[in-house]
Amino acid sequence: MTANLIGIAIIDIVFFTLLVLTAIAILRQRNLFAVAMLSGVFSLLSAGLFVTLDAMDVAFTEAAVGAGISTVLMLGTLALTSRDEAKRPRSALLPLFVCLVAGAALVYGTLDMPPFGAVDNPIQTHVAPEYIARTPTDIGIPNVVAAVLASYRGFDTLGEVVVVFAALVAVLLMLGTSGRRTNGKNGKEE
Amino acid sequence: MNNADLLLLAIAIPALTPFLLAACGKQPNLRDTVSVLASIATFAAVLPLLLAVIDGARPAISLIEVMPGLVLGFEIEPLGMLFATVASGLWIPTALYSIGYMRGAHEKKQTRFAICFAIAIASAIGIAFSGNLFTLFIFYEVLTISTYPLVAHKETPEAKKGARTYLAILMTTSILFLLVALIWTWNIAGTTEFRAGGILDGRLDPVYAPFLLALFAFGIGKAALMPFHRWLPAAMVAPTPVSALLHAVAVVKAGVFTMLKVGTYIFGVGFLGKTGASDWLVWLAAASILIASIVALTKDDLKARLAYSTVSQLSYITLGMALAVQMGVIGGAMHIVTHAMGKIALFMCAGAIYVAAHKTKISQLDGLGRKMPVTFACFTIAALSIIGLPPFAGAWSKWYLMIAAADANQLIIIGVLMVSSLLNVAYLLPIPARAFFLKPKEDKAHGDAAASRIEEAPLLCLLPICFAALGCIVLFFTIGGLYEYLLSIPIRPESLP
């Protein structure tokens, strides 16, 4: 363990703490514009976390999505809906219970998990090393993620593209292709 | 044309009739002609089969294997042949009668009525000829469903309510118990075929036998065993031909017939006797007989009283099976015939009274006998047959049942049968008595004019009634042949060649 590694671990925890703080802020924040911003911040922090965890590509995507499209879409929605969350008393017991049960199950599941970051974990010994070892000869590009993404598991990526396309179809089906409003009433202002 | 083809024909004719009826639904005369012709054709197809079966033939045919090991197939044996003959035979008079009745009472949707009627007959014959329990179950359910529209025919709230009760009880029992029993049987025996001597012997743990029997006994709701008898009175909202044929012959007899089949060919009389699995059923049937009779006494509605009478009489047949002796089976089978003859006549009379006089209550019948002498004469004959007095057919079946009780050493049951006969007298005979001997009550509403217009029902109604009443008498004298025939019902497992 070099100082660097400890440093990364600390960065990891700091990022995480910030993430939880942001999540709690989102929970408590009633102004939806602020929520949209906070969710942008959230995904940005997670992008940072991904970088520390060596997932450059994922960080890249998360940054692009979280800061770019996701926020813009959410703002676009807010522009058409409302700014503030209504203050309404809701019983928090059941949701809390559900979450605690799910959380307990998750934690129980982690008890026997292979330790974080160990080299001899099953996932580091079974399929993944093959990818790393074979990519230079099979495909001949340095970015193993791209190789797996587009070739080894290219079909998943095709599915992903179709998902994106499906989202377009879905949104257009609902909001219309021409962009002009189809049915009359909508609060221009409430 | 061989017997197997005939068998198919016997089912196919009534099964295809509905299509013809639907096609000519716009022309009532043509439709009713078709209906009568179909009934005659069916009987014509059944008769040669009867002769063949008497000769010892056992025609069989298997249509299709629904699931691996589960066959849709037919096989004729004496019991089924008997039932088929009764059902198809009595269809002819009923077809005639219903023409008269429906037109007389100006009922609506006569085409639907005729169609459902034909389907019901087809399924009754299907039940009779079923080669295995599975096939029987199918036709059993078809019968239930096809008779539902008949019961609900009037579409009044009461009719709908009655039909609902009818459907609910029959479906509930059949699905909840009979189907489970069927699957259980299949599970342990690997087959549901009807075989002489039963298929469960040696396969079913005797400890479970009473439970399986209970599933069957309650599952066959059409046998109207108490406490699942409520549907039968409820179904009396139906037009009278329906009550006559279906609830005196086809439906209820399908129930008790199934009971007999199960006792004889699934459990086997020997197995039942050996294990005593049916002992409890004997007592239940006995209780059913008595209680239903007592309830019948309290009913003022003519059809309701007849219905409770039916409940009681059906239990005779169940009792015959539960006694687990050969004579019981014979007595039960015989009772199917004799009771059918008697009850159909009674119901037809009730219908005739309704058509002619628009009266349904017993208390309204005072003095009607003089206006409708033929009807009430026939009523008396049939009633006596039901009660079991010679020289009417009912006497014989009761006789054999008593012998069976004696065979089974159930002396109390003999007593029960005696008491029951007395009760029969008590609830049936007052009806013609009132009609013939009491003076008509003053009817303020309709006045004398209305009363004086009452005369005999249409000829088409009257003829079948006479025919049925006559049957009750004729059957008494020809019972020997029937007895011989019934002896051919195989009781013991056939020895393997």
Partner: protein, 145 residues
Amino acid sequence: MEHHSILRVVSKLLIPPMLVYALYVQFHGEYSPGGGFQAGVVFAAAFVLYSLVHGIDALTRVAPPRVLHALAGLGVLIFAGTGVVTMALGDAYLGYYALGEHPQHAQEWGIVVVEFGVGMTVATVMLSLFIAFASHTRKLDDKDW
């Protein structure tokens, strides 16, 4: 000169580099982090910036929704079609080895083409989504903010 001229000028300065950057990300996916998806998003972001400053109508003039939708479908078809082509050439679906003699080049070609399809679909879809949301309401006037 409008009150947000600064923004207009800066956006004009920024959009072409953003587009080039997006295309760079698109075509360097094999060498460094990135690829079709990320490129598509950045590409769309550049157009979003354009529409934020110049209004949604200007955007729909530059990139008509109809064309965008067609291109989105086309992107999917490029990806899926690559698979069909390899299939027709006798390899498995998306088996790029069929695309050329040299196995590594064949693979690389396959990846480039496929990633291009991804980028095209993502960019156009993201942009169409933005247009769908943004134009669903009363038009935002250029001066209105």
